[in-house]
Structures are given as C-alpha cells and as structure tokens.
Amino acid sequence: MKTFEEKWTAWIDDQLTGRELEEFEASLPDKEAAQAEKRSAKQLGSLLREQMAPVLNNAEFFSHQLRERLDREDRQPAARPVSTTGWWTVRRLLWSGATALAIFVICAVVVIHNKPSSDQSEYLTQILNYRVDPAVSPNATITMFEKKDEHVTVLWVDGLQSLPPEYATK
C-alpha cells in the first residue's frame, strides 16, 4: 500500500496509470494547484539536468580517453594469460644458446683433432740430413728411400769399412 507521498512522487514522474491515476487525481483537493506544482517540478528537474550534466569539451574528452586507455593497459599484463608469453622464455633462450655453443665447441674439437695433416711426415719418417766423416769413411755413399707399403724409411750407407766378426758381439 503506497503512501500519499509515494503516489505523489509517482504522479509527478508520470508513473501512475489507469485506475490508480484516476483515484489519485480524484483524491487531490485542488487539482489545478497540483498540476501547477507538477509542471514546476518538471521544469526544475529539466533545469537541474541541464546544469549538472557533465559537459566535455575537446581537451577534456581527449584527456578522458587517454586515462581510460592507460587504465586499460595497466590492467592488461595482470589479466594476460601466461601461455601468451610463448615458448621462448629468457631462461630457455639462455639454455638453448649454451647448448648450441657446447655442440659447436665439441664439433670444433673433434674436427681439429681428426684433421688430416697435409704433411706426409705424419705417416712416414723423414730424413732431414745425413753425413759421414770422410776421414773415417772416405768411400761412403748414402742413399735414402721409403718403402711406403711397409711405412719404413731406410737410410742405406755403402762403402763403410768392413769389420771382423768379433764386432758382432754384445
């Protein structure tokens, strides 16, 4: 059951309809005065809406939009799901880099140690020079050759003085 004040407010706001409206207007002692008060209240309401409503000029509108956008951006990182950061986290990047470096170093070491030498000396012994004392062995001649199948290098000395069998003792 509405009180008179409630019905009055509803009547001012044109919220009463039908039988309820008829009963309320019939109950008014001075309908003309009530109608005048209603018009006055509506005018006051219109005036207040006009005066109190926010009026945004261009600068304020821009500032408002900017603040809205900053607020949105501040809220976004917290709201962003972890999965959107991707697989390449800093930690994974570091591990990947270190692993790649390790593989490179191991390959480099293996390649360096397996590199075939361009020098034949790695496979065959080489004679760099040779000499005999002409005073001791005036007829000596020296030749050098390699038996490549057996990987043997031979220094063949001819013309040394022959010695008796006793020189073969230990």
Partner: protein
Amino acid sequence: MLLIAIFAIALSSSVATRGDQTVWSGIVIASNSGPPEPTPAELTPLETTLRQLFGYTRLHLIGEARKTLKSGQEDWLATTKYFALRVDARGQKDGAYVLNLKLLQENKVLLETDAQLSKASPLVIRGPQIGDGQLVIVLMMQ
C-alpha cells in the same frame, strides 16, 4: 655445469692426443750364419721387410734402448761392445719427433743424421759389414 663439461671434453681430448711416446732403438746383426734363433719381439713387425731389404734370414739383437719421451728433449744411448747409438731428441714437429742420431764405432762417428721419426713409420739404417753379416740400426715408436 655445461661449460665445465665442454672444457673437460676439450681437455681430455687434448691430453689424449699428447700422450707420452716411447722410442725403441736397436742395434741388430743380420746374417745367414749361426744357430737359428727366434726374432726379437721388437723386430717381429719388421721381420719380413728386413729380410727383403738385406737378404738375411737371421736377426740378432746385440744392443737396445727404450726411452719414453715426455718433454721431447731427452737423449739416450744404445750400446754394444764396439758400437753405440746416441740419440738426442730435439722436440716435435708435425706430430713427429726430431732426432739427432750418431752411430759410433768405439770413439769414431761412422754416421750422423737428423730424422723426423713418425709414430707408425720405423727408421732402418744400414751400417757397416761385419764378418758375413750386416749391422742394422732400427728406431721405432711404440
């Protein structure tokens, strides 16, 4: 940890390739006379080659020396009653050891040579004729 592992692999690989080498040097009489005897173990890999080179069937070891090279600057002597082989190592070059060799008969230098001895390649030197045999010098890395 990863870097430590890398350095360990690199270091072990490096150390493995720099292992100490032993040089065996022998003074041998090759002949066809005398009682048959087994070829010395050190000469077994070269037995066929030596027989083909000199035409002798009997290889008799009369002096030997074995030296492990660490610094590559070592020297040593293989001796018999009348001969001596003096070896003076003079460092490494291209993975081989540079050796100065002197074959001495008592106090006389019969032969001097500088050789670059490789790991898988023995050096054979033909010396003077002795009786009905031949003096042979052999150097090899083991």
